[in-house]
Amino acid sequence: MFLSSDDAKAIADKVLAHSKADACTVQIQGGLDQSLRFARGGATTNLASAEANLRISSHIGGRIGSCSTSRFDDEAVAAAVARSEEIARMLPVDPDYVAPLGPQNYSFSNRYDEATANLRLDALATAAARVIEEGARIGVDTFGCATTARRFDAYATSAGLFAYDRRSEIDLSATARNRADAWSGWAGAHQFFADRLDADAIARVACAKGAHDATPVDLEPGAYTVVLEPEATTELAFWLIKTMEARAADEGRSFFARPGGGALLGAKLFDERLSLRVDPADPLAPEAAFGFDGVPQRARAFIENGAVTTLYRSRAWAQKTGAEAIPFVRNFVMSGGDVSIDDMVRSVRRGVLVTRLWYTNIVDRKSLLLTGLTRDGNFLIENGRIVAPMRNMRFNQRLGDLFANIKALGPTRRTWRAAGEGGAPAAPAMLVEGFNFSSKSSGI
């Protein structure tokens, strides 16, 4: 269920009028998601789902109780307010209690398009048809998913804050597998504006990558030079930024903890060319206007020219440490360069071109050792040329080492995320040496 700013504010006002607590916050989220999946060139499942949730947090005597409901009628709202107050009274006093925010200034990005928001499933079927037709044309089986989302987020407090943000999203991702079921390729894109989604390009790239009939070669485990396409780079950068939490660093349980105590803020840990920035006004990957508790998202760098400049921080930890509260981010931009993927490949004597990664997971939080596998388009590079499709490999790679040894970067590109997840980061292709493949996989 999609609500306008006025409708959301009316509900928030109704909640705040019911509240008998010392303070109260109201979070309302919802929208309409539509998706369509296809496999082996034909439709499988689809859905349209209208979601809505109202979360009320009552603050009583330094305690916070929360109650959520999908019903917005008067009776349900009153019951939820009363229940949140009942919960708050039963809880222990929070020693680090933080009162709700008052009015804030937000930087709003342009992430909403009425035409995209009003798309129906037939538009997704049309996008899927492009992939299916291209697959049929060049003789590969096609699989994929197309999704649109129309979402809103509202946040209000008894201290006078009302924040509202909305977005429209569309994504298309496609996998192409050869008819022997022995090789696969993938491509995908996410946009806030449907007219920026190039379904034909996604179809072409996925099908071209999947159209290899040669038997893939096996590579022995070891350290290799790799060219990571932007999707793969994004996944690695996402894990890096996800672990940049101030409290864990301050408490000594993080890669970003300074031996002996404190966080490694200001330390130059990475290659000079690495910067990770967030900005609600960024044209490529605009972040939402606000994060948790209504805290504004601002233009800031988490890593600037290889140095750690920002760690995200909850309001309670910020208050306790006298530092600024920094919300977690979903849309970040990794700085790029001007080296094309073709030029990167030309510079490699022996290595691997990696399309994307799969099932990545942190193995060791101190060293940021990450494991995972390559997927949907590994190619062996020899003497500056792609010479063969290559079977997938598992890697075990320390992210600190990886981002400290960047050899080349391509132009930063917006990458894929499923619509409904709040956006997508932007990252470049990246050439690195010494990437540690630890075992072979037969998974195609």
């Binding site: 269920m1 998601d33 496999a39 082996r40 034909g42 439709a43 499942t45 689809n46 859905l47 349209a48 789902s49 209208a50 949730n53 979360r55 916070i64 109780g65 109650c67 959520s68 409901t69 999908s70 019903r71 349900a76 019951a79 939820a80 229940r83 919960i87 809880l91 222990p92 929070d94 997704l124 299916i132 089986d141 699989f143 998913c145 999704t147 597998r177 079921d181 408490e251 000594g252 349980r253 031996p259 309670a316 799969w358 099932y359 990545t360 193995v363 101190k366 494991t371 995972g372 596998l373 997927r375 598992r394 075990n396 409904g420 630890s438 072979k440 996989s441 037969s442 998974g443 195609i444």
Partner: protein, 512 residues
């Protein structure tokens, strides 16, 4: 079936616990009739509707703070129609008659929308109709327990861990109650309700001089159970042990990488069963329906009754009946009864059955699916999901000491750690919470920074020992992710401790 006076909304006891159904049945029948009549009138050859309420509670504490306590109740419906061989689905968070009428229209519209790319019509087997009620047996309803009692438990768990060696500790409690009404155009009318709970904590110890740190996670599993399970599982004692073990891990010997005989505790093996056997034998993956996201499988239809998945000791069964298990229920989300979900996936090492949802069996020449559908909300499309999938214990006598008795140089792995597996469910790597040496048949020192790597059938064919039923343990998760958009399913996996020969073990630390 409609009552004389029909209420205009579904009344619920939104914020109170229950051990029975709370949704207004008369209205549910009326709403179902609205949907099924409209679907039939508009040409749908099949239709079903799920109406329900899900209640969740989540409490989280870290060190001396209760950081979050949230109760959530959400209602909704989902209409699925089959029109001219095309599925159409629409779900929403409203339960008034007009919303369901609109829902049918949108579901039909969606079915028409996909017609241009529906080259192979969806075909369904005819499931028998059922009129039934199923309520999960439960002791104390967790939603009836006060917030203060839950907060006290979390803070006591944390204090216990910190008193015994942890520098930091976080703890959480999750509870979910699903109440569902299912009706289809074949005549089924099914009410079901079930509750599940998941206690959790993580103890962290730090060596400030070296900057190293170690964690030890809770080993108490999520269960289909009530508050009595949470209270009785011994969380405070376990937290004390975890605090001490997190501290001990800092000074433990690093694992020496190499090939070992490993004995895997059920607290770790459940996840390996889940990833390597559970997912690889899902027919929708095999058919390619998950190729774009969750992946396909190394298992193919021609391997039925042929593939030597594991050693003769390996018998893996599916069920929806184990008491306390997370996928235990009377009927799946296609309306298939639990009895059809009782089957062997692997029998004495040989692959015997895929898991299937409605409309899949005929694609590999079989007549009927086997009760493996689940939708994580009434507003989402039901897809093939796992029932409980478990490794049968040794039918003969075998204690833990018997199991490790002939292990000369091995490692005992306890608790689930970092996990990863390829998209065809072949190459995997799993960490753990605790690793112990096994030397000459005896359990030895604590080790740190271990993980094991393998290939699925090679690994299961190296299974060479199993404990008997006295060591059987049921574990599981609330959050198995699959599909686009991602759906989260609860599922349990039971096993005894098991011995695998010549498994590759890694050292994951800085000083490896």
């Amino acid at each position: 079936m409609a009552p004389a006076a029909t209420p205009s909304t579904v009344e619920t006891s939104c914020y109170r616990g229950r051990n029975a159904f709370s949704l207004n049945r008369a209205l549910l029948y009326d709403l179902a009739d609205i949907v099924l009549t409209a679907a039939r009138r508009n040409g749908a050859s099949y239709a079903d509707v799920r109406i329900g309420e899900t209640r969740r509670e989540y409490a989280f504490a870290k060190d001396d703070r209760l950081e979050n306590f949230d109760e959530r109740a959400s209602q909704g419906f989902g209409v699925r129609v089959l029109l001219d061989g095309c599925w159409g689905f629409y779900g929403a968070r409203r339960l008034d008659p007009q919303s369901l009428r609109d829902g049918v229209e949108r579901a039909l519209e969606n079915a028409r929308a996909v017609k241009p790319i529906q080259f192979q019509p969806i075909a369904l087997e005819r499931l028998p109709a059922h009129e039934a009620e199923w309520i999960m047996p439960m002791g104390v309803d967790p939603f009836e327990v006060s917030a203060s009692e839950k907060a006290d438990l979390l803070l006591s768990i944390i204090a216990s861990a910190r008193d015994h060696g942890a520098d930091f500790c976080s703890a959480s409690l999750s509870a979910t109650c699903e109440e569902r009404f299912f009706a289809n155009s074949l005549g089924s009318r099914i009410h079901q309700t079930r509750t599940r709970v998941a206690p959790n904590f993580q103890a962290t110890a730090i060596d400030r001089a070296s900057g190293r740190f170690a964690t030890r996670d809770c080993l108490a599993p999520a269960r289909g159970a009530g508050w009595d399970y949470v209270v009785g599982v011994g969380l405070i004692d376990e937290a004390a042990q975890a605090g001490a073990e997190a501290r001990a891990k800092l000074d433990a010997k690093p694992v020496a990488p190499g090939d070992y005989d490993i004995v895997i505790d059920p607290t770790n093996l459940w996840l390996t069963i889940h990833e390597t056997v559970g997912h690889s034998t899902e027919l929708d993956r095999v058919l390619g329906w998950e190729a774009n996201f969750a992946g396909t499988s190394f298992v193919k239809p021609h391997m039925l009754n042929e593939l030597q998945f594991g050693s003769e000791l390996m018998t893996i069964v599916a069920d929806r009946a184990q008491p306390g298990a997370l996928a235990t229920i009377g009927f799946d989300d296609d309306g298939a009864p639990a009895e059809v979900a009782e089957f062997a996936i692997v029998e004495k090492g040989v692959f015997r059955n895929f898991q299937m949802a409605l409309g899949q069996a005929h694609l590999i020449g079989l007549s009927h699916s086997n009760g493996c559908a689940y939708a994580d909300s009434p507003t989402t499309f039901p897809i093939q999901r796992m029932p409980n999938i478990s490794l049968k214990p040794n039918p003969g006598k075998c204690s833990f000491n018997d199991l490790i008795n002939d292990v000369e140089n091995g490692i005992y792995v306890v608790g689930a750690g970092s996990w990863s597996i390829d998209q065809q469910r072949d190459n995997f790597q799993f960490g753990g919470q605790l690793f112990y040496e096994i030397k000459n048949g005896k359990l030895g020192d604590l080790l740190r920074d271990g993980a094991y790597q393998g290939r699925t059938t090679q690994f299961w064919n190296s299974l060479s020992g199993l404990c008997d039923a006295s060591a059987y343990h049921l574990d599981g998760t609330f959050t198995c992710g699959k599909a686009e958009p991602v759906q989260l399913a609860p599922v349990s996996h039971g096993s005894p401790p098991a011995l695998f020969r010549n498994v590759r073990v890694l050292n994951t630390s800085d000083d490896a």
